[in-house]
Symmetry: C2
Subunit: 344 residues, 2 copies
C-alpha cells in the first residue's frame, strides 16, 4: 500500500439510515452535500437509493447535477441554497428542486421556471437560510398557490437537547406552518433524536448516516490507514519536524507516515491525536506537515507497515476533539489523495 | 455567479517563480505537491514549465503520474516520499525520479528498477524524511556508484532565519555531502531567503510561488469570492448560526454566503475573519457551517451580490492567522466546489 487508504463501509451507512428511519413514523431522506460528507456522493447516494431513500438534499445546484447523473431520474433532489441567479437552466435540465429561501428566490423561480417543483425554507430563528416570519406572512398565500412540495426549517441547537432554542424553533415552525396542507420537515439527525414532535412528514439525516455525533448509536463508517514511509531511531534530545517542537526524552523510534494536512489531517490536531497499530496507541509527535505526520512507535513490538488514524479506537469525533473541531469537519476535510475503498 | 469563485493568477505565480529564481545563481525547480497547493496541478505546472521550470517535486507517486500526463515527457519529476512498495511499475512507466529516504528504499529501487534515475534525501536533523548520517555513511559509496541525479535535505526551521537549527542543518548537510560530485539541494522558499550558503545546485520553492509567507515580496496568486445567498435584518437580541454563539447588539443586516468549512473555510476561523465588499471589511459572525458563513453587512451602503474572503485586504496568511494556522493549510484546504478561474 503506497498511498493512504480510506475505507468506507456502505453496509454500516445503510444500517445507520435504517436505524434513524426506524425512530420515526415519517419518511426519511438523506443529506449528501459536500460529496456525501467527503465519502463520495456517487457510491454513497446509489447505496442509499438502493436502500430506499427517495429524497436527497444537497447544498448547491452543481452538486445536484452530479447527484442526478449518479442516481438517474425519478428520485427527488432538493437544493438547500435554493434558486440562485444563473442556475435556472441546470435546475430544469436535471429536475432539481430548489428550496426557496427568500422572496427574491421565489420571484426568480416563478419567472424562470413557472410550474417546476420547488420547496420553501423558513427561518425559525437560526438567521442563516430561509424566509423570515414577516416575509413569509406576506408571501404565504401566493407561495402555497404555486404548490410547494415541501416546507422546511433547520434547528440551530439540535445537538444540545435541553437548549430552549429547540422548543422555541419548534413553536415558531408550528406557527408559521399552521393550517398548511404541504409536507413539512424540521429535523436533521439531531432533531430525529429530540422526539416525535420534531419529525413532521420527512426527516433529513446527514451526520448520523456517516457515523458521527450526536447519533451515538451510529455504526462507524470510515477507517483510515496511513502507510509508513520510514522508521528511524532518535537519541534523547533530538527533535522532530517543523519548528523543532518535539524533543525525544528517551531513545525513541519515530515513524513517518504518508498523509498530512493537505489530506485533511487538520494541522490543529498537533500532538493530541494518536495513530494505532492493531489497537495499540502511538502518539503523533511534532507538527503535522502538508503530506506527512510523525508518530512515536517506540513501544511497538514490531515495525508496522501502516498505522490507523480512524479506527475503532479513534472515531471521527475523537479525532475531531484532538483537533478542536467537530466530526463533520474531519469528514468533509478528507482529501482527494486517499485511495477510497468501498465495502458493501 | 451561483458558486463561489477561486481566481488563480498564473501571471503572478510565474512572477514569483522568476523573483525567487533571480535570488540565486543556481537552478530553480518547483514544488507542486497537493494539487499545486490546492490551485490545480495541471494548469499550474504547465504554466511553470512554459516559464522554464525543468524539475518538479511532488509528494506521492500518484501525483507524479498525474503531473507527467499534464506536462508530457522530458521534464524531471521527483517524488519526495521515495520509492514505496508497490510503486515500481508506475515509477518506470511515467519516468518518475524517487528521492530515496532509507536503505530499504535504496534496495527496492536497485532490485526493481536498476539503472533508472533516483535521488537521495538525507536527514540533517528534522527526523522526518531521509537517510540518517550513520545509515548514509554505510551506504554512501554504493549509492554514489549508482549515479544519483540529486542529493537533498530539508530545513526544519527555515522560516525563522535566526534559529540556530538552520546553520546546524547546513553544517550537517555539508559534512554529509563533502566531496560528492552530485547536484545538491537544501532549500525550499525559506532557504532561498537565508542566502547563498543555502542554495547549492538547485532550489525547490513551494509556498513562495503561491504567494505565501515567508516570501514577503510574493505577489498574491489567489482571490476568492463568495456569492450572497440572501440578506436579512435582525433586531437586537436575535442570534445567528449554530449554537446561538453570536447575538445582535444593534439592528443588524446579515448576509449568508455560499461556502463553508467543506470548502476549506476552516471552522476555527470562527468570528476572527472578515469578508470584504470592494475593500470594506464586514466581520464574519456566528459559527462557520459546512456550506455557509454569515457576515455582518450592516455598514455597507448597498446590498452586495458577493463578498471576498481572499483579496488584497486579506491574503492567505492573514486568513490563516484568523484560523490559528499557516497559509499553507489555507491553500491546501481550498475545496473542489469552487469554480476555478485562471488568469494568464
Amino acid at each position: 500500500m503506497s498511498s493512504a487508504t480510506l475505507s468506507i463501509d456502505l453496509t454500516a451507512l445503510i444500517a445507520n439510515w435504517r436505524a434513524l428511519d426506524a425512530m420515526t413514523a415519517c419518511e426519511t431522506g438523506a443529506v449528501v452535500k459536500a460529496d456525501a460528507y467527503g465519502l463520495g456522493i456517487d457510491r454513497v447516494a446509489r447505496a442509499l437509493a438502493d436502500a430506499g431513500v427517495r429524497h436527497f438534499f444537497v447544498a448547491l445546484t452543481r452538486e445536484g447535477v452530479a447527484l442526478r447523473k449518479a442516481v438517474g431520474p425519478g428520485l427527488r433532489i432538493s437544493v438547500l441554497s435554493g434558486h440562485m441567479a444563473g442556475d435556472s437552466g441546470l435546475i430544469r435540465a436535471h429536475d432539481l428542486t430548489p428550496m426557496l429561501n427568500s422572496v427574491d428566490q421565489m420571484l426568480r423561480h416563478v419567472e424562470n421556471l413557472a410550474g417546476a417543483p420547488f420547496g420553501i425554507q423558513l427561518d425559525t430563528g437560526m438567521n442563516r437560510l430561509g424566509m423570515e416570519p414577516g416575509e413569509w406572512a406576506a408571501l404565504r398565500d401566493v407561495a402555497v398557490g404555486q404548490n410547494p412540495v415541501l416546507v422546511t426549517s433547520h434547528l440551530a441547537c439540535g445537538d444540545e437537547p435541553d437548549h430552549p432554542m429547540n422548543r422555541q424553533q419548534l413553536s415558531v415552525f408550528n406557527e408559521m406552518t399552521n393550517g398548511l396542507d404541504v409536507p413539512l420537515s424540521l429535523s436533521a439527525t439531531a432533531g430525529i433524536l429530540l422526539g416525535k414532535d420534531y419529525h413532521f412528514s420527512l426527516t433529513r439525516p446527514g451526520i448520523g448516516l456517516y457515523g458521527g455525533a450526536p447519533f451515538s448509536d451510529a455504526r462507524p463508517v470510515v477507517s483510515l490507514d496511513l502507510p509508513v514511509i520510514q522508521i528511524r531511531d532518535l537519541a534523547p534530545g533530538e527533535t522532530v519536524g517543523y519548528g523543532n517542537t518535539w524533543t525525544a526524552k528517551r531513545p525513541t523510534r519515530i515513524a513517518t507516515l504518508g498523509a498530512g494536512y493537505a489530506d485533511g489531517l487538520i494541522r490543529a490536531m498537533g500532538t493530541t491525536a494518536q495513530v494505532y497499530a492493531e489497537g495499540t496507541a502511538c502518539p503523533v509527535v511534532g507538527r503535522v506537515s502538508m503530506d506527512l505526520i510523525t508518530a512515536d512507535v517506540t513501544d511497538l513490538a514490531a515495525e508496522p507497515a501502516h498505522l490507523s488514524i480512524l479506527c475503532p479506537e479513534q472515531d471521527v469525533d475523537t479525532l475531531a476533539g484532538a483537533a478542536g473541531t467537530i466530526g463533520y469537519e474531519i469528514l468533509t476535510s478528507l482529501g482527494p489523495r486517499y485511495a477510497r475503498m468501498y465495502r458493501e
